[in-house]
């Protein structure tokens, strides 16, 4: 039956948040939405009065048998993960935390997923519903607490990764899953090329792989599933045992970059189709990157010219995001510019849902 874990911090601040938004709307003053402030580096800096979600906190609904949890946006991500773990469940997309103050709202708004993403799905894949305060200061409900729901447009999933530019997320309902019965992590010393070939072969078989990262001359693999299949795959693949803490460090971008990389340079995230070969960038050997998601997400620290990198990624069918430095304010143009038609419809959507431009203006792109 539904269990609702309450803590002394639980508090419904939606009315005061709505009031702040009504005010901002009346005055036409932009708001800078902030949760735990752990993700400022991911996106453009926003000029606006700070609107904190931290007061709006607590798990409002959790039914492990339904596989559904609903959480207020200011709830610390760590708190949510602890509540789920107690029931042997998890957020399958392994969101990065970047720090203990990280909130669920910030996690959803930025939409970043962790090492399990290619096999389990992304943040938006597990969002079932949201409550959002709109530009008029009215809290609205989209989606819901059921697995399947196609009534109306899917505005809930649209909010994921929109970085708070379309409204203030106040509550999110997720589908959750059981923590797999067996886990084993391993490390195999292979070249990048060999790693790619092996992953391609394994990818066509139903193997219980749930993370695959090449870094510093070795492929790091995680196997998750039933005890029998994990044991069988482990025996077949071999390799050295790896401490599971590796995945936590990777997830939070806390791993040391390969030694020959440039540690002071800006951090880049490359998102590329499966099986994209090395990008042939001069002065930027692929061996200096962290190849996560079986190669579909590559992390790079480099002073490389943005346009050179972006055009190489575009040609490969992907895109590149500049995260600047973790401590810094964020880069001037973090996200790959949109083609003109797409930009037009982004602006239209922003103008329709936030006509006065009060929600995190400019956080994604300068144009809106």
């Amino acid at each position: 039956m539904a269990t609702i874990a309450t803590t002394p911090h639980d508090h419904d601040a939606s009315e005061s948040l709505a009031e702040r938004i009504r005010q901002a709307s009346a005055e036409g003053t932009p708001l800078r939405i902030v949760g735990g402030d752990t993700r400022g580096f991911y996106g453009r800096p926003v000029e606006g009065a700070k609107l904190s979600t931290l007061e709006h906190r607590g798990v409002t609904f959790y039914d492990p048998v339904e596989l559904v949890v609903s959480v207020r946006s200011g709830t610390p991500l760590a708190e949510l993960e602890a509540v789920l773990a107690e029931q042997g469940q998890m957020l399958p997309f392994e969101p990065p935390r970047f720090g203990i103050s990280s909130t669920v709202g910030g996690m959803v708004a930025t939409g970043m997923s962790g090492p399990r993403r290619p096999w389990a799905g992304s943040v938006r894949d597990f969002v079932l519903g949201t409550r959002v305060i709109n530009h008029e200061g009215i809290e609205q409900r989209f989606g819901g607490q059921v697995m399947k729901n196609v009534a109306g447009y899917d505005l809930s999933r649209l909010m994921v990764g929109a970085q708070g530019t379309l409204g203030l997320l106040t509550e999110i309902s997720f589908k959750v899953l059981p923590i797999p019965g067996a886990v084993h992590s391993l490390r195999i010393e292979v070249s990048l090329e060999q790693a790619r070939n092996r992953l391609a072969d394994w990818g066509r078989e139903p193997l219980p792989i749930s993370a695959a990262t090449w870094l510093d001359g070795a492929l790091h693999l995680r196997l998750e599933g039933g005890p029998s299949s994990v044991a069988a795959t482990r025996a077949r693949i071999g390799g050295d045992d790896l401490d599971g803490g590796f995945w936590n460090a990777l997830r939070d971008l806390a791993l040391a970059f390969p030694a020959n990389g440039n540690d002071d340079a800006p951090l880049w995230r490359l998102s590329l189709p499966h099986r994209t070969p090395s990008l042939a960038l001069s002065n930027t050997p692929e061996e200096t990157m962290i190849h996560d998601w079986a190669g579909a997400q590559r992390w790079l620290k480099s002073d490389i010219d943005a346009e050179t990198l972006r055009s190489a990624c575009r040609q490969a069918g992907g895109h590149a995001t500049c995260l600047g430095s973790r401590e810094g304010p964020g880069s001037a143009e973090p996200f790959t510019p949109l083609p003109s038609v797409l930009l037009k419809y982004h602006r239209n959507l922003k103008a329709e849902l936030d006509p006065k431009g009060i929600f995190n203006p400019g956080r994604l792109y300068a144009a809106f």
């Binding site: 059921v146 299949s229 895109h319």
Partner: protein, 500 residues
């Protein structure tokens, strides 16, 4: 309250000159097949919700993207509404034509453009049948996961537009989870790409927004889907119960045991008998309910899980448990379920399929409510249920030739949907709102929320030329709906509305 287009509630229809529009289209688009004679239009007058029929003004059957683009540009310029149609299997009247609109039929776009076994993707045209993708991927040991029961006929474009599901959704997701990229033409004839071949794309997640948008935001012209390796093995257990509630509780117990089955379906006695009569699947016709539980994956894990599920089912009070002996029997078990709609259709001149989704814990209450309503309206209801994810398909049996019975079936259906909303669920899990559930949208959403939906629509189609009248009700329609409901509220059995 009727769902048919009513100018008083839904807005004035444009006054259009059919001959002039036909001339403009013929001139603008060389080689376009454009049907206009009444006898040619008849095959397109309805989708799978065949009790509602409207003759379209014109039917266009383009063969090239350039033709589609020109058609949209021309219609946009002339202010002519456009309804896109895939295979026309939709069950909510989403592709129901307009007598003052062009029906844009995409069935000729039926080529599989690319299967890339290394990248595990398929790139296809919108008219490709759902099952054809898995068939083409099969030689590589791959398949496309979402499998609506209509998969031999429905198109992938229609699947995207409805965010279609299937019997394997709980584990493998809906269409939105399995499509990575779509090419779209806007109503102005502009081209855009949503999503990408990578695992994400910059900007808003418009790909998610377009999934399930019912042809209201743009025309999907190409789809790239993700392919999965076929599981090493799949096994099906069929459990019988002498009580529907016990079967419902068994579903929760399986999930509580930490198992996510590949498929988990439930049928009640009426549906069991109909399917058995039609397919001969070997179903126990005396059972009050059966559960079909498919476990798939690596052989060793599946064996472990089968043993666990068996124990859970026994503890839940199953009166019989049968494991399919081989793939042939497994296919037969599923054939009964996948043909449940037509099977029920054989028992009655007409049937009406509902699509509400509820939190599973409310199953007993909702089934009880449905059986009370069935008695009250004097119409039989068979229940087929995607039990794992709470998506119900009550099938209302009626005879459209008996005066008044369609209205009764509709009213009963409406009540069932309102009951789903009342227990915290939704009026549609996978079939879409279309025209069919236009009134119940007013029960599920508040006026200000509907206004936000209209704002999203306005961002892409401010002139409301794409599939007008579908999916999102007008304020006038909802205020009438609410007036009727508050009048009914005087009657004590009236539903409580959605919980806050």
């Amino acid at each position: 309250m009727n769902i048919l287009y009513d100018e008083r509630l839904d807005g004035m229809k444009p006054q259009l000159d059919k001959a002039a529009i036909r001339d403009s289209l013929v001139q603008a688009i060389p080689g376009l097949t454009l049907l206009h004679r009444e006898e040619d239009l008849h095959p397109f007058e309805c989708d799978g919700l065949s009790v509602y029929r409207t003759l379209p003004m014109l039917v266009a059957l383009p063969e090239t993207l350039a033709q589609v683009e020109q058609l949209l540009k021309t219609c946009h310029r002339l202010g002519v509404p456009v309804v896109t149609r895939g295979a026309g299997t939709g069950l909510s009247g989403g592709a129901m034509p307009l007598e003052h609109g062009v029906l844009l039929v995409l069935s000729r776009f039926s080529r599989i453009l690319e299967i890339d076994p290394e990248a595990r993707i398929a790139r296809v045209e919108p008219g490709v049948r759902n099952l054809a993708i898995s068939e083409a991927a099969s030689p590589h040991g791959l398949y496309y996961a979402p499998d609506p029961s209509s998969q031999i006929a429905c198109s992938i474009g229609g699947n995207v537009a409805e965010n279609a599901g299937g019997v394997h959704c709980l584990k493998y997701g809906l269409t939105v989870h399995n499509v990575i990229k779509v090419e779209v033409l806007t109503i102005e004839g502009e081209h855009m790409t949503l999503g990408s071949d990578a695992l994400d794309a910059p900007g808003f997640d418009l790909l998610a927004l377009f999934n399930g948008s019912e042809g209201m935001l743009g025309v999907v012209t190409e789809i790239t889907v993700k392919l999965l390796p076929k599981p090493e093995t799949a096994k099906v257990l069929m459990a019988s119960f002498d009580d529907v509630e016990k079967a419902g509780n068994a579903v929760g117990a399986i999930i509580a045991a930490g198992i996510i089955p590949g498929g988990l379906e439930m049928m009640d006695n009426l549906a069991i008998r109909a399917a058995e009569d039609f397919i001969g699947a070997g179903y126990p016709v005396e059972a009050a309910a059966i559960l079909l539980c498919e476990l798939d994956g690596v052989e060793a894990d599946v064996d472990d899980d089968c043993a666990t599920v068996r124990r859970v089912l026994e503890a839940a009070g199953a009166t019989g448990i049968q494991q399919a002996r081989d793939d042939a029997e497994r296919a037969l078990f599923w054939a009964g379920r996948k043909n449940a709609f037509p099977a029920v259709g054989r028992m009655s001149p007409d049937y009406y399929c509902m699509d509400g989704t509820i939190p599973r814990r409310e199953l007993a209450r909702v089934l009880k409510g449905i059986s009370d309503l069935s008695e009250q309206y004097g119409l039989r209801v068979a229940n087929v249920f995607h039990a794992g994810d709470g998506n119900m398909h009550p099938l209302i049996l009626f005879d459209a030739n008996t005066p008044g019975e369609l209205d009764e079936a509709e009213a009963l259906g409406g009540k069932i949907l309102e009951l789903c909303v009342e227990v915290g669920g939704t009026i549609t899990g996978e079939h879409g709102v279309g025209r069919e559930k236009i009134n119940q949208m007013c029960a599920q959403f508040r006026p200000d929320e509907l206004a936000t939906f209209r704002a999203a629509k306005a961002a892409f189609d401010p002139k409301e030329l794409l599939n007008p009248g579908k999916n999102i009700p007008t304020p006038a329609r909802c205020s009438e709906f609410r007036t009727i409901k508050s009048a009914e509220a005087a009657v004590p059995t009236h539903s409580q509305g959605r919980p806050e």
